[in-house]
């Protein structure tokens, strides 16, 4: 049995999307210079980050599961990441 794709898996979760505020911001220059870009693409279980053909990192913050792994591997200054505003983001029903 082939596992579901990551976007298919995420459809099983409940999210309260904060349409006003994105809680993630990548500093493209530092991310590229330090290798943080590739590292956060590889370590994010929700595939929030994608490396675009031009080498920039795009962010799908709505998919974030809020683990903080990206922040842990990011070089200083490459990533601004905090929790979504209260009540927003993923809402686990199982956990």
């Amino acid at each position: 049995m082939k596992p579901l794709s990551i976007p298919e898996r995420l459809t099983k979760n409940r999210f309260n999307l904060d349409e006003q505020e994105c809680h993630i911001e990548v500093n493209q220059e530092i991310a590229r210079a330090t290798g943080t870009g590739k590292a956060i693409v590889a370590c994010c279980p929700a595939h929030v980050y994608t490396e675009e053909p031009d080498g920039t990192i795009s962010v799908e913050y709505a998919a974030c599961l809020e683990c903080g792994t990206c922040l842990a591997v990011a070089a200083p200054g490459a990533l601004k990441w905090h929790y979504p505003r209260g009540g927003f983001g993923v809402q686990f029903r199982e956990g």
Binding site: M1, N16, A42, P45, L65, A72, E94
Partner: protein, 437 residues
């Protein structure tokens, strides 16, 4: 020490996980005024764990815990599995003594933590869900900063003691300098699926009866050689299945974490457990694996740190613990805060009862006992070569290929000479393991 403004509460707890809820519950039962703030829409909705809670400590806090709390199954089977690409060797330990008295249960945190928060409310704590604490309020104290409350959006709330129970990322503990950024070898990422299956199917597949449960811990091919492991834990009508991989090794080997998880799910010896199941939820969590090394200061003037936020997790190779340490730290913290409030001294010195009680408890002593475990478990051989070595020895014993048999000991010796593992490494790891674990 004079307070500049009258506090709104005696204690504010940030985060309604196990550590936060148990701290709030114990203090509310002492008659203290307690505010428990949770950023999730409801308590439990941001919380996730692998799933095994060693439950003796929480049973002391809630005597009716096993019957009243939404626990899943009572663990009677622990299976330690060395997994290779085409072979698998394990120690399968099933013991009814583990059911009476119950020692460990599987839990799903969205359900468990909602129950814990209810208990806090019943005990008189005020719960404020859907609120993110942005920072703590500080004032200049006798020496350095003193925490006097929290800020959430426009709101400022003051308390004599603030408890940071905001989880492994603990922005709060970092903000006030109680924790610094961890080196990557102290951190791992856990990725987990909850897979629904009928309870009869689970009981048949895992050899269980009634509410008995199994915990399968896997090392080896499950993580494609990256330091870490996999797990399968049985819930009532679902399976928690996941991998946990160390971030230093993941980034050094340039592996994609979801590829590792998929490889585990598709492994020929793992997939049959999950066959026909439906995905109920997909989640992940950062895991602190530094053990004792990660724990620095856990108190300061007006504040203390509990649970994951304090770096309280322990991987001994056999047991992986966090939630029971959260309980133990919360119990110690509530006692420390209680005596500080009684003496009207909530400075670092006034809260010193917390670290004293915690490090004197079984949990604190275990942290010290297993202080060498993280370094031992970092050895690469654990994740690849030992599993293959065990399988090769057993293959030589079971593969009756019409050649005359030799004694197992000489088979083992020959296999070892062909293995990348050297005899002196085996001896060294054996000694290190005996001392670390």
């Amino acid at each position: 020490m004079p307070e500049t403004a009258e506090p709104d509460f005696e204690v504010i707890v940030i985060g309604a996980g196990i550590a936060g809820c148990v701290t709030a519950y114990q203090l509310a039962r002492q008659g203290r005024s307690v505010l428990l703030i949770e950023r999730g829409e409801a308590p439990g909705s941001k919380n996730l764990s692998g799933g095994v809670l060693y439950s003796r400590g929480i049973q002391e806090v809630f005597p009716g815990f096993l019957d009243e709390a939404p626990v899943e199954r009572r663990i009677t089977r622990n299976y330690i599995n060395f997994l290779n690409a085409g072979s698998s060797v394990g120690i399968d330990y099933q013991d009814m003594r583990l059911a009476d008295p119950v020692n460990a249960v599987t839990v799903l945190r969205a359900k468990l933590d909602a129950w814990l928060a209810e208990k806090c409310e019943e005990a008189g704590a005020l719960i404020m869900p859907g609120v993110r604490v942005d920072r703590v309020l500080t004032e200049d104290g006798a020496v350095g900063k003193r925490v006097v409350g929290v800020q959430a959006g426009e709101d400022e709330l003051r308390a004599r003691v603030v408890v940071a129970a905001d989880g492994v990322n603990s922005f709060i503990a970092k903000e006030v300098g109680l924790r610094t950024d961890e080196p990557l070898n102290h951190l791992a990422v856990g990725v987990k699926s909850v897979v629904s299956l009928p309870r009869e199917t689970i009981e048949a597949r895992f050899n269980l009866t009634g509410d008995e449960g199994a915990a399968i811990a896997v090392v080896g091919d499950c993580t494609e050689g990256v330091g870490g492991g996999g797990f399968l834990y049985t819930n009532i009508d679902s399976i928690s299945v996941g991998v946990v991989v160390r971030l230093d090794d993941l980034t050094a080997k340039k592996k994609v974490v979801t590829d590792i998880f998929d490889h585990f799910l598709e492994h020929r010896f793992i997939a049959p457990y999950l066959e026909g199941g439906d995905l109920a939820e997909y989640g992940c969590h950062l895991v602190a694996e530094g053990g004792m090394k990660m724990i620095g200061e856990i108190t300061m003037d007006g504040m203390l740190v509990v649970g994951d936020a304090a770096g309280l997790t322990l991987n001994t190779g056999l047991t992986v613990r966090g939630m029971d340490l959260a309980v133990a730290s919360a119990v110690a913290a509530a006692e420390g805060i209680g005596s500080g409030l009684e003496r009207d001294d909530t400075s670092k010195a006034g809260l010193a009862g917390y670290p004293q009680r915690f490090f004197a408890s079984y949990a604190g002593r275990d942290m010290k006992t297993y202080a060498r475990a993280p370094a031992f478990l970092e050895a690469e051989r654990m994740y690849k070569q030992y599993g293959e070595l065990f399988a090769d020895v057993l293959y030589s014993a079971f593969n009756l290929d019409t050649q005359p048999r030799r004694h197992l000991l000489s088979v083992a010796r020959k296999t070892l000479t062909q293995s990348p593992v050297k005899m002196r490494q085996l001896v060294r790891d054996g000694i290190a393991g005996a001392r670390a674990l």
